[in-house]
Structures are given as C-alpha cells and as structure tokens.
C-alpha cells in the first residue's frame, strides 16, 4: 500500500453551503488505481464533496491536495475528468453530433486554438468504440438514449487521457441492464487502464461488488476498504442511521467481489 501514490488527499475538510454545514471534518485518501464509491442519503453531501475536491466550491476549513498539490495551486486539470450529475440534461436541440461532442474533450488550457489532428481523431474514435458508441457517432447528441448519453460523456472524459475520473450519480434514471453495462465499462477502465475512479452512487450492490473503497457521506464522512473482513453494514449505518439494514448477498456479485 505504501508504494501507491496518493491521488486525492482530504484533511479535516468542512464545507458549508448557504450557511448550513454540509460536510464536517472529512479525512480520507484516494490512491492511484482506487475505484471509490461515494454513498449516502440524498442531501447528505455527496455532490458537495465532489465539487469541493474539484475546487468548484469554497471550503470552510481543512485542506484538499490533488496529486500532492494544494487545490488552490492545482492547475493540471487535464489529469482529472469530471462527469456531473446533470450532464445528460442538455438542450436536445443543440446542433452537435456525438463525434463532435466527444472531440471537445480534446480542448484544454495548453491547446487553445489548436486544430485537431489525425491522432486526436483516432483517440476520439477509440474512445467511442470503447464506450460502444461507434454506430451512433454521427447521430445528433439529442437523439441518444439516457445510457448512451452517459457513455458519451465518459468517452468525452476519456479522450483527455485523465488519471482520475470523477462521476456524480452517472446511472440515475437509467434501466438496470444499461446500468450494469455501464458499471462493467467503468470496471474495465479501472482494471485494464489503471484509471482511478470516484463515483457517487445510490446503487450499494454495485459499489460493494465492483469497487475497492467506499466513502459514506451524511455530513460526517466515513471511509472503508471493501473487504470481506470489514463491517460494511456498520459503516453504512453511520451514514444511513441505526435502523438501516443492508441485505447483501455476495453471490449477486457473480465473482466480481474482490476479496
């Protein structure tokens, strides 16, 4: 464990929004190659935690370091990709093809005004293929299904060649089969490409079957490694309350559970 790099370091982080304390004294590390699920009740602070890590909302106290750099000084945003919760709620009449949208992922602070070259487009097509979107590459973005839209935004994130992908409830409102396919793709990204993934989700089974670490957020933040010897129910109770019962059948994971 010691030889793995710390990608995100959060220490004594408290955040308040509109005068209300939303996160209290959070402490955790995300290591390179981690696949982290962020769970907790609605309004518990999952999105706030992600936005704070991304430097999008001010902190009340504490520190956040990305790749060893304080968030205030961090400027290597090409290493981090974010897919927000409301990404798929765009104007469906916006005149963009799937291919064009994904190619926008190639833009960045060091590439202002640069034309996309052949290699850039090759990467765009590779990301589309990886996310299973090659056949709809020339369709308008508004014509895609919810699941395809989500995969399109992940493809857009992938062309940036990020080291970390942060997703906020990416499968909300998508049917179970499509959700499962999406989780499979994210597992592939994590295991085959070594991309660190942090994902807010309400799907506890998916988190416990596929991910390596869970962060429970309900104002207080509790972190646990997902291993058979860890009392996950106890961790979840801290976020969801003492009356919470989590029925988890390990066979549901069909061998995905990492012991």
């Amino acid at each position: 464990m010691l030889n793995r790099d710390v990608v995100i370091e959060v220490r004594n982080l408290s955040v308040s929004r509109s005068g209300v304390l939303v996160l209290k004294d959070a402490n955790f590390d995300v290591l390179k190659g981690d696949y982290v699920g962020i769970v907790g009740p609605n309004g518990g602070g999952k999105t706030t935690l992600l936005l704070a890590i991304l430097g999008q909302i001010p902190r009340m106290s504490g520190s956040i370091r990305l790749f060893g750099k304080d968030i205030m000084d961090f400027d290597e945003w090409e290493r981090v990709a974010f897919v927000p919760q409301d990404a798929i709620n765009f104007d469906v009449n916006f005149p963009l093809s799937v291919r064009e949208l994904v190619s926008l992922g190639k833009l960045g602070r060091n590439k202002i005004g640069r034309k996309l070259g052949r290699r850039d487009w090759d990467e765009v097509y590779a990301a589309l293929e990886f996310m299973g979107l090659s056949e709809v590459a020339d369709r308008r973005i508004g014509e895609l299904s919810g699941g395809q839209k989500q995969r399109m935004f992940v493809a857009m994130a992938l062309v940036r060649n990020p080291e970390v992908i942060i997703l906020d409830e990416p499968v909300a409102g998508i049917d179970a089969v499509t959700q499962e396919r999406f989780y499979q793709k994210m597992s592939d990204l994590n295991q085959k490409r070594g991309i660190t993934i942090m994902m807010a989700s309400h799907d506890l089974s998916a988190v416990f079957c596929r991910m390596s670490k869970v962060i429970c957020v309900n104002k207080e933040v509790n972190v646990a490694e997902i291993r058979p010897d860890v009392d996950l129910e106890g961790v979840l109770r801290k976020a969801y309350g003492e009356h919470f019962h989590f029925v988890f059948h390990r066979h549901e994971c069909e061998g995905e559970f990492k012991a």
Partner: protein, 278 residues
C-alpha cells in the same frame, strides 16, 4: 409599382460597375461574419443583444456626425461599451439578460435622439445608418469592412471549438481549463465590431435579422455542428447576393430585400423540414 432601375442593363454589365462590386464584396464579408457570429448568439440565447447594441450604436453614429468624427469610430466605441455593459450586468446579477439589453437600448437610442435634435434634425447620412446603404459604400468603407471582417472570421476560425465548448457547457469548459472569461470578453468585442460594420450595410433596424435568421434557418435542418455552421454561412451569403441583385434591378431598399430573402429561405426550409417529417 416597382420600376426597373437598370432596365437595359444585364447582370454581366452590372457586375462591372464599381458600386456593385463594393456592395457585393462588403455584403459578402458582413454576411459571412454576421451569420457565423449569429449561430453562437442564437445558441447562447443572446440573439436580442444584437438589437440592443445596434440601437445603442445609433447613438454613437449621431454623436460622430455631430462632432464631425467618422461615425463608424464613435459607433464602434459606444457598441463596445454597450456589449460589455450588458455582459457585466448579467454576470454580476444586476439584471436579467433581456432587461439589461432593454436598458442599454433605451440609453443609446434616447441619447441618439437628443443629439439629433441638438444637431437640428435627421440628415440623409443618419437615415443611411438607420436603414443601411450598401449600394453607396465607398472604397475606403469597403477596405474597413474587409479588414474588420477578415479579423472576425480569423478569430472564429481559430477559437470556434473553444467557443462551441463554452456555448454548450460553460462550467464544463471552465473545468477543462479553457479561459472562459477571456474568450467570452473577446467574443463580446467581436460582436460589437460585427454589429458596427453591418450597420453601414443593412442599418440599425435590420442588423438583428442578418445575424439571427441564417442561424435559425440552419438549426431547423437538425444536422451536425460543422454542417450547421456551413449552412448558416451559405444562407447568409446567398441572401446578401440575391438581395443586392434584386434590389439593384428593381430599385427597392436593399436591406429590405436581403432580409426578405432570408425570411423566404427560412419559411421554405421550415416547409421542407415539415414535409420530410410528416
């Protein structure tokens, strides 16, 4: 009854006249720049900014004519202040976009009217800025239009992907490290320049049409962004050329015919798209 201005002149002969060449070149440049800028403005839901800034620029024209300065310079100055003012009010939450535009329009146009009455009423010059005078643009006007037009087109060519990303999702663009504020400010300045150079061509009242209608027409086609940009520009160029030719032959107001041509293309496209979807 419309009467033919050049009943015995063929199109080929017309093309050899310098006033006609100036009009076509100036019109094509303004049409190209306006259409492309217009697509971004329509997608940003800021189309009416054009109307507000154009009317404010009218105050600038009146000021220039009163002071004996080139009205283009004063109009450009006032348009720039106006577009930055609207953007500032929006960003600081001082007013909604439409209220900010209405406020700027009122300030600019009322100032213009006061200046006009001080100067002793409307002159022919002032009328030409209200309704456009593409057939009377001089070589020096043309040179100015070409220079600014090419700068606008160069800006859009270089930064159009960044502008697209900002237009689609400003927060996302910011997080990707795109300098959103700097590019948005540059875009606003380009909008001010585009409006000012188009006033000479089509006039204060109708400049909004030159900017908005080609984009609205192309958006009905529901194609990719690259094809939408190409269609928008093509519609702008065709309308300008058709408008200039018809208005020259029939001696009717050029700006009116250009906009009327755009409206006809818009309606024809709407009918075709509807027919295709039924």
């Amino acid at each position: 009854m419309m009467e033919l201005l050049y009943p015995s002149v063929s199109l080929m002969e017309l093309v050899s006249y310098q006033f006609f060449q100036n009009a076509i070149l100036g019109g094509l440049t303004a049409g190209f720049a306006c259409a492309w800028i217009g697509l971004f403005l329509v997608l940003r839901k800021e189309a009416m900014i054009v109307d507000g800034v154009a009317h404010t620029a009218f105050g600038g024209v009146a000021l220039g004519l009163l002071m004996g300065i080139d009205p283009f310079i004063t109009a450009l100055g006032i348009s720039t202040v106006s577009v930055l003012g609207i953007s500032h009010m929006k960003r600081k939450g001082l007013a909604e976009s439409d209220s900010a535009i209405a406020l700027m329009l009122a300030i600019g146009f009322s100032t213009g009217l006061i200046i006009i009455s001080i100067a002793g009423g409307f002159s022919v010059d002032l009328f030409s800025y209200l309704f456009g005078s593409i057939l009377t643009i001089s070589r020096s006007d043309l040179l100015m239009i070409l220079m600014l037009g090419i700068s606008i087109i160069a800006f859009l060519t270089v930064l159009h992907k960044e502008l697209l990303a900002i237009t689609f999702d400003e927060r996302g663009a910011r997080m990707m490290g795109i300098p959103v504020n700097a590019i948005s400010t540059m875009f606003n300045l380009i909008v001010a320049i585009t409006i000012t150079l188009s006033i000479k061509i089509i006039g204060v009242i109708l400049v909004v049409a030159l900017i908005v209608i080609p984009a609205l027409t192309a958006l009905q086609l529901r194609v990719s962004f690259a094809k939408t940009v190409a269609s928008t520009i093509l519609i702008g160029l065709v309308s300008v050329v058709v408008g200039i030719i018809i208005s020259t032959f029939y001696n009717v107001a050029t700006s009116g015919v250009i906009v009327f041509t755009m409206v006809v293309i818009y309606l024809a496209t709407a009918a075709l798209v509807r027919g295709r979807n039924v």
